[in-house]
Symmetry: C2
């Protein structure tokens, strides 16, 4: 069974898509074709969206699903003209909320979080610059760090740091454990003095070998033997230093970032 799905929003449509997609994953028997329609913020654009949806209905021979988060009820209302099952995600919750809160809504389309007007934005940019200049042990100035990720090369430290910076304004540094480090019984002293900020990342050695193979094919660095040695030694180090540890093998960057913040008790910016 095949079904076209539209995520329609007056903004990026990221929320509609993320939420709608998580609903659809519960129906593995259906082959969904997912289309995002962002920035539908005028009546005319909403009518264009209706045309697109109607064409998909005709081509598929079945009514598409539409998930909408358009804030303006007038513009969002245009979608009900489409030959589709329309879920107005905004309106669904807005009415009961108005009733519970006992106040009427004061419509605001999205919120500006540009470089012009947001402290949170500046924090995120500063944190991103910090992550870029404190990546892979280039700098050892770690006093400013909110968190320091430690792990072997290619274990997922850099993307996790960048994600925490871009989304939460968290200053995340990272340090790659070298072979020399791993031969020692303890972490380097300049890291140990920041013990409370340290977080270990580990990864399945087979997976690590695959990732390294792409980078340096046929190298000792990418060999399964070397990867096993490094991961075992790093995990032993984490245990003896009593670091919290996460595996990046089966977690997305989003999950890793969220878990690290939770476990480290870090506050996130309101984005």
């Amino acid at each position: 069974m095949r079904k076209t799905v539209f995520f329609v929003s007056d903004g990026t449509a990221i929320t509609a898509e993320t939420f709608g997609h998580s609903l659809l994953t519960q129906f593995s028997a259906v082959d969904f074709r997912e289309i995002r329609l962002p920035f539908v913020d005028t009546h005319s654009k909403a009518r264009d969206a209706v045309s697109l949806i109607d064409r998909a209905a005709e081509a598929d021979g079945t009514r598409p699903l539409v998930f909408s988060t358009i804030v303006d009820t007038g513009i969002g209302g245009e979608l009900t003209a489409a030959n589709a099952h329309v879920f107005d995600m905004f309106a669904t919750f807005m009415e009961p909320l108005e009733e519970i809160l006992g106040v009427e809504r004061s419509p605001r389309v999205g919120q500006a979080h540009g470089m012009g007007n947001s402290h949170a934005y500046e924090d995120r940019m500063e944190a991103t610059n910090y992550a870029l200049t404190h990546d892979d042990g280039i700098s050892k100035k770690l006093d400013q760090a909110d968190v320091i990720l430690v792990g072997v090369s290619r274990s997922g430290k850099t993307p996790t740091c960048l994600y925490m910076a871009l989304h939460y304004g968290i200053k995340a540094a990272n340090y790659p454990l070298t072979e020399e480090d791993l031969e020692q019984p303890r972490l380097p002293a300049f890291l140990r003095q920041h013990q409370r900020k340290l977080f270990g990342l580990t990864i399945d050695p087979e997976r690590l070998a695959q990732i390294r193979e792409v980078r340096r094919p046929g190298s000792r660095y990418a060999s399964i033997k070397q990867c096993r040695y490094e991961v075992d030694a790093a995990e032993a180090m984490f245990r003896s230093e009593k670091l919290p540890v996460l595996s990046t093998t089966d977690s997305s960057v989003e999950e890793l970032a969220s878990r690290i913040l939770l476990e480290q008790g870090l506050q996130r910016d309101q984005v």
Copy 2:
């Protein structure tokens, strides 16, 4: 009026929070205290959440709002015991979806998108590495780029590139226009040969001066005169080269990334 709001999920709770927060921004008269409770994936954790919610109800003297995206109906159902207004965002849409699709759901909690099992993940990591090594004109190997952002120093190129890479697996390079470039009538030839991939970023000169001032206080680089000159020259260049242009002054990184993808006709990974 003050109200505590909980975003509860078996995953990161990012979706519940993003969506719930966008609903709440419509009620500017209410002072919301927002609390995220991620990874509530067992009955015992759900009951802990209920205790937390009940304590907030007592402290506030008013029932909190709860937005839940817990997939497991048994675990999510525990929340109804709380002294709160509970919005089960998942269940609200799941029932009508089952009816429309004519199939029952096959529950799956989240989806693993770790380093272990996702092509999309690899694309995102490769794209992130690409963005890091093609940042601020360090490399001029632009053949592989999906998109190349052009703009003056500190106009927001780097975070936008990183966001597109981390979220969409888009290979985004960027090139900072130097004073020397801006004195020329045309863009450098090595950029012009990639004309279809180019995207101009601009920014309000006053805002640019503020940002640069943080970086190099009192410098010519940060002076309003210099910022005005550079932004004017860059915008003239964009016009004569017929580049699509976005201003970063009032747009978030999320919005910029989404608009660039839309205008460039780039497909995003399904994340």
